[in-house]
């Protein structure tokens, strides 16, 4: 059924960077797909490869990077093995991107309004007058005063520039938006306003989206599905409710557990001690093993297989059958505290 075809399917994608320290395999064989009209949250610890995935899809990886394997199927057609021109076309017509560094994505020498109008005229086929009106509407949509369209990027605050980048990404009604931490720089009221705009576009225009974020509350508010990465791999994925309420991977448990809220914030926050492995070295066993409070001897020797539940949820942990028990332990702070 054509209708069931995901907008994007990622199959076994690997991405490597060449560095002075050797080759870093930042993304190592990940797979997931984005159904039409769905918002998918991509979460995981700093440095786990989220931006690398986002940039791979949009075809704007750094020069030192290369896709070392796998497929990126947009409406069923592989971008990686296809002609570069097809990828470029897709990027302009169908996929839009809010980079993590969106605050500096504007050109400092042109007025903000003319940068937006330029995009609307050259890529959206609008007339000058239409573009001006649409630029004003886009400004209002993200809570900016259209009276300031004629200012330069340096005259805007960090969050104001971030909102311009979001408005630009939504300007041409793309079918897929890849947004890398789009609302991180915004206060909770403006953030909420923008999340509601995105939800509205999803409902009215069947917008699909990959939302990279570290904020579990944003995932809970907006995302239908969530993919959790750790050290270049997907460790867990599924519907937002299933993953947040019944995490099966210890990393996800630690992540949902450490969340401070306004009432409990006075208590100790519980970090997951240690750091992720060096991705320029060959790795054996589960990548979370050195930090996992539940690890068994097999975890250091064997890579855990990815299991699939009836619900479609996926998880890669040797102890997945005991996840109810581990979840109970994970709520106890002492589980995560190690003797120094």
């Amino acid at each position: 059924m054509a209708d069931q075809q995901p907008v994007l399917e990622i199959r076994d994608l690997s991405v490597e960077y060449r560095t002075a320290r050797g080759v870093v395999r930042a993304v190592d064989g990940i797979s997931f797909s984005v159904p039409k009209g769905a918002i998918l949250g991509l979460v995981g610890e700093s440095g786990c490869g989220k931006t690398t995935v986002a940039r791979s899809i949009t075809g704007v990886l750094h020069q030192s990077a290369r896709i070392a394997g796998g497929e990126l199927l947009l409406h069923g057609r592989d971008l990686v093995s296809g002609p570069p021109k097809a990828w470029l076309d897709a990027r302009w017509r169908e996929i839009s991107f809010v980079p993590q560094s969106a605050m500096n994505s504007l050109d400092p020498v042109y007025r903000i309004g003319s940068q937006i109008e330029e995009v609307l005229v050259h890529r959206g086929g609008k007339t000058r007058a239409e573009a001006r009106a649409r630029a004003s509407a886009l400004f209002e949509m993200v809570g900016l005063n259209p009276g300031r369209l004629d200012e330069y990027p340096h005259q805007f605050s960090g969050g104001m520039r971030q909102r311009v980048a979001i408005a630009l990404a939504l300007a041409l009604n793309p079918s897929l938006v890849i947004a890398d931490e789009p609302v991180t720089a915004l206060d909770v009221i403006v953030q909420r306003q923008i999340l509601d705009v995105i939800r509205d576009l999803q409902q009215r225009l069947s917008l699909s989206m990959i939302l990279v974020t570290h904020d579990i509350s944003v995932v809970a508010y907006l995302c239908d599905q969530v993919v959790v990465m750790y050290a270049g791999r997907v460790v867990e994925s599924g519907s937002t409710r299933e993953v947040l309420e019944q995490p099966r991977h210890p990393y996800t448990m630690g992540l949902t557990n450490a969340f401070p809220d306004l009432e409990s914030a006075a208590h100790e926050l519980v970090p997951i001690d240690g750091s992720p492995p060096d991705l320029s070295q060959p790795l054996v066993g589960c990548r979370f093993q050195p930090r996992c409070p539940f690890s068994l001897p097999v975890c250091s020797s064997d890579d855990p297989r990815t299991e699939v539940a009836e619900t479609g949820a996926r998880f890669a942990c040797h102890r997945h059958a005991e996840s109810d028990l581990l979840r109970r332990h994970s709520r106890d702070i002492a589980t995560w505290q190690r003797p120094q």
Binding site: T51, V188, I189, R192, H214, S217, L244, L262
Partner: protein
């Protein structure tokens, strides 16, 4: 500031602090002959004690970064004065200015343009030590210590790497480490951990609390994360369009906000649960802007409680006792 809150050992004090920027003229300005301005910071007073952590909350574009830059003398005020450790900073020069720069550090809001792209990470971190003449033999130790504080692996993992080769959250922690490496007395941390997930963030924030306790570091935390402010800051200030509209002990302020803007902010905090409400917030939808100095309360167009007086009279920041101050006619 004349409040009960003035700390016993003030480190940074500002009074009547203002910064305005020229705004492009609109057609209407040509007719009435006005020179339009953005009032980014409009007459604020604040005081941060030695070893005290103060939180600064407020809407995007309300003047938080500008306030931080003024306190560190990275931009000059249009009016008002700032004293650091009892000395006015506007006239600092030569050695005094260098000493001030060493003691007061900025953690930039945007880590992607905070670092020299041509310097290796190692050089980025050692640079402040070199510039301030710290003896070379101690550099390596100090840099390793700062990396550990921000929960990054040792320097060997960054050998030969440049800023663009790091992820956003790694870069953000390098920026924080660079500010900590000089062991300053005061930092303005502008969204210092916004790109970190909770598991890493918790570790960094615990260290920040430790550094305050052991080294007496004073800090102004600019953040959109109310839980962070709750966790780290004893006192919190809330800004709205260039003005401080509320301040007080963080726990009380968040538990019982008095200004309608603070209330809206607290109510908008998302929770990490799937079944949260998607109801529209009462104050969403209006566009606010720091252009001009309107009469009355700046929040009144968006305020669900506004009365006639709010359009006429600007509410002053009033002392309500117990360290709490609010600028609202109805509070």
């Amino acid at each position: 500031m004349t409040s009960a809150q003035t700390p016993t050992h003030p480190l940074v004090t500002a009074s009547g602090l203002s910064k305005r920027f020229a705004a492009p003229r609109r057609l209407s300005d040509l007719f009435n002959g006005q020179r339009p301005h953005i009032y980014a910071v409009d007459g604020i007073d604040l005081c941060i004690g030695k070893g005290e952590s103060v939180g600064l909350l407020g809407e995007s574009g309300c003047g938080k970064t500008t306030t931080g830059r003024l306190l560190l003398k990275l931009t000059e005020p249009s009016a008002g004065s700032i004293a650091f450790d009892g000395v006015a900073i506007d006239t600092l020069k030569g050695n005094d200015l260098t000493a001030f720069r060493k003691r007061a550090q900025l953690v930039f809001q945007n880590p992607f343009d905070a670092l020299n792209p041509r310097f290796t990470i190692e050089r980025v971190l050692a640079e402040p030590l070199v510039n301030t003449g710290v003896e070379r033999a101690s550099h390596r130790d100090k840099v390793e210590k700062a990396l550990a504080q921000v929960r990054l692996p040792p320097l060997s993992r960054f050998e030969g790497l440049f800023p663009h080769q790091l992820s956003g959250g790694q870069l953000q922690r390098i920026v924080l480490a660079r500010a900590l490496v000089l062991e300053p007395d005061f930092i303005v941390a502008d969204e210092p951990v916004s790109m970190l997930d909770v598991s890493v963030r918790a570790g960094v924030l615990n260290v920040m609390r430790e550094v305050r306790a052991t080294l007496g570091l004073a800090a102004l935390y600019i953040s959109h994360d109310l839980a962070l402010v709750r966790y780290v800051c004893s006192t919190t200030l809330v800004m709205y369009l260039g003005k401080i509209v509320e301040q007080g002990p963080t726990a009380d302020l968040l538990k019982m906000p008095l200004h309608p803007y603070t209330r809206a902010l607290v109510n908008a905090v998302p929770v990490p649960r799937v079944d949260q409400s998607h109801e529209a917030l009462p104050i969403i939808g209006n566009v606010s802007d720091a252009r001009g100095q309107p009469r009355g309360c700046r929040f009144r167009d968006r305020c669900p409680m506004a009365v006639a007086r709010c359009a006429e009279e600007e509410p002053p920041l009033r002392d309500l006792g117990q360290g709490r101050q609010v600028a609202c006619h109805l509070a």
